[in-house]
Symmetry: C2
Subunit: 69 residues, 2 copies
């Protein structure tokens, strides 16, 4: 995750747009995809680049049952 890799990840306009979309809200891969005229596979590729560069986290909302405690 050095500087050149980070720079490379940021050098693509689609990936910069994705980061902007995620600035203030969490979005699923599918919701991100709706903002672009690309296949889900391509979106997935860009997300993987951003993750590799450490510019993106993944929060899993599993099928949790919330319980009163």
């Amino acid at each position: 995750m050095g500087f050149p890799e980070t720079f490379k990840a940021l050098s693509d306009p689609v990936r910069r747009e994705i980061l902007i979309l995620l600035k203030d809200k969490k979005l699923s891969a599918g919701d991100i995809g709706k903002h672009f005229d690309m296949t889900g596979a391509t979106i997935s590729y860009h997300l993987s680049q951003l993750k590799k560069a450490g510019l993106l986290f993944e929060t899993k909302y599993k099928n949790l049952h919330l319980l009163r405690n």
Copy 2:
């Protein structure tokens, strides 16, 4: 010369290295080339990219005759 173009120009490691070389001294295209294992044509290409992005100036030391005034 917008942001995306500037970013793109900076996204290449060779071009970043060229900018670092030029940080504190003026160098000819040939002298820049000596730092890399590339042909002069390739260096010229990178210099043109940097110029296009406005990240580089060109100072011409023409065959001037300095005169006392």
